[in-house]
């Protein structure tokens, strides 16, 4: 369980942006989507903390509410930030896999 000892490595911001890059979703749908793609379970307190920050920074925007549920969608600037962050992650992952391959792991 060494991976657990190292703590969570997934940034909640990236997870939320990734979820919304698949199309507009309301809070519950975002939580379920993140759960299915990463196994990480967000609570509403964490999710809306992240959504509030992303909305403030113009990376997501709310759509008209459907009853008590309000969908959010990723903006162009949010998509650009997501792409930038993922490119760095992919670069680091490439190097890591090559080095692990060299170690025979």
């Amino acid at each position: 369980m060494a991976s657990k000892r190292l703590g969570r490595t997934q940034d909640p911001t990236i997870l939320v942006l990734t979820s919304l890059s698949g199309g507009p979703k309301h809070g519950y749908a975002v939580i379920k989507d993140i759960e299915s793609m990463s196994g990480i379970s967000f609570g509403p307190g964490t999710l809306y903390g992240v959504l509030a920050r992303l909305e403030e920074e113009g990376m997501v925007e709310p759509l008209p509410a459907e009853g008590p549920r309000r969908p959010y969608r990723i903006t162009a600037s949010g998509a650009a930030v997501l792409r930038e962050r993922l490119e760095v992650t992919v670069k680091v992952a490439d190097v890591a896999f090559r080095r692990l391959g060299a170690l025979g792991v």
């Binding site: 809070g27 939580i31 967000f42 609570g43 509403p44 307190g45 964490t46 809306y48 903390g49 403030e56």
Partner: protein
């Protein structure tokens, strides 16, 4: 309606009922998202997510949201209130903790195995020449240990920090009163009265001290083995005034903090006063952090001094309440964290005001 059952219902009933607002926990996360948070929490609860986990997550989210002002609309009134409250959170803990630190040190006394030390206490400024009083002529006292000097310097630093922070707070307080006077709020008289609470408390203390001096006894007859006999004045009234002084001093001190906090929350002062208050909050938070450092050093010095003194002939320095050192350090740690968080929030809130409204 109540995804967290009785706990949330209890909080709602005692918190926001009657104001037509949504339940406490979901609102605290960020008021703007309250309905959505409640709806998601309800869905997750139906999914089988445990209530305690949801409550913990909401509380964590609420603390973060409040600390970072997440989702707070860009409205000047809201950010100004946040700045004023943050300034109060950064500065008022000093009023609570500084007198406690001074009391927790107690009275200083000097000791030596060679004999009685004179003077019995070190003066706060200037060099001290200590002597041992014996049957023959006085002779120079053994030196203080190096840790003993650290204790002396620590106690001096504590006093200096106390005085500096007190002066800074008085300046900040007068700025608050001036800001209230200059404001256009229709309630500014009431708010000013609240803000004046420390002044009223001080006046009441001075009045009681003077009354005790005038009414109570001022001359006593001392007889060995017998209690002091008052020769003039009214001893019963003097005693009653002494008790009243203690009660008024403590109650006034605590009430002053509450009144100033309420006044700071309600006073609609100008942006320039907010900027000034932000600076005061940073200085006071720094002074409290330095006070913790000085008090910690002082206590460690006392511990090390005891070990050093066992290795030779030294003059040692002790304080009547030094046993309270560790609990006071722990309380100070909490206060330092609170004050630093307040100052940080004041700085950030002011930044938003300066960028968007000034």
């Amino acid at each position: 309606m109540w995804p967290f059952g009785d706990w949330e219902r209890w909080a709602y009933d005692r918190g926001v009922r009657g104001r037509g607002r949504p339940p406490v926990l979901s609102e605290l996360v960020a008021a703007r998202y309250a309905d959505e948070v409640r709806s998601v929490a309800s869905d997750l609860s139906v999914d089988g997510r445990s209530t305690s986990r949801l409550v913990f997550d909401l509380l964590r989210g609420a603390v973060r949201a409040r600390a970072r002002a997440q989702g707070m609309p860009r409205v000047y009134r809201l950010w100004a209130t946040r700045t004023r409250l943050s300034i109060a959170v950064a500065t008022l803990p000093w009023m609570l903790v500084a007198p406690v630190v001074l009391m927790a040190m107690g009275t200083q006394s000097l000791h030596s195995s060679v004999g009685r030390i004179f003077p019995p206490q070190l003066s706060l400024v200037g060099p001290n020449s200590l002597e041992v009083m014996g049957r023959q002529a006085p002779m120079p006292a053994p030196p203080l240990t190096s840790a003993g000097w650290v204790v002396v310097d620590g106690s001096r630093a504590i006093l200096v920090l106390f005085l500096v922070a007190l002066m800074v707070l008085i300046v900040g307080w007068s700025q608050l009163i001036g800001g209230i006077r200059r404001s256009s709020s229709p309630h500014r008289r009431k708010i000013a009265l609240l803000a004046w609470a420390p002044g009223f408390a001080l006046l009441a203390d001075i009045g009681l001290v003077v009354a005790r001096g005038l009414i109570g006894p001022s001359a006593y007859r001392l007889t060995t083995g017998h209690p002091m006999v008052p020769l003039n004045g009214n001893p019963a009234a003097g005693h009653a005034l002494g008790v009243a002084l203690g009660i008024v001093a403590i109650a006034g001190w605590l009430l002053s903090m509450v009144c100033v906090a309420v006044a700071a929350k309600r006073a609609e002062v100008a942006p320039a006063d907010l900027r000034f208050g932000r600076t005061i909050s940073v200085i006071v938070a720094s002074a409290i952090a330095l006070l913790l450092a000085a008090y910690t050093t002082w206590g460690i010095g006392l511990i090390v001094q005891a070990r050093e003194a066992a290795r030779g002939s030294f003059t040692t320095i002790t304080y009547s309440n030094q046993g309270l050192w560790l609990p006071v350090v722990l309380v100070l740690l909490v206060i330092v964290a609170l004050s630093a968080l307040g100052a940080r929030a004041a700085v950030r809130s002011w930044k938003v005001i300066a960028l968007e409204f000034v």
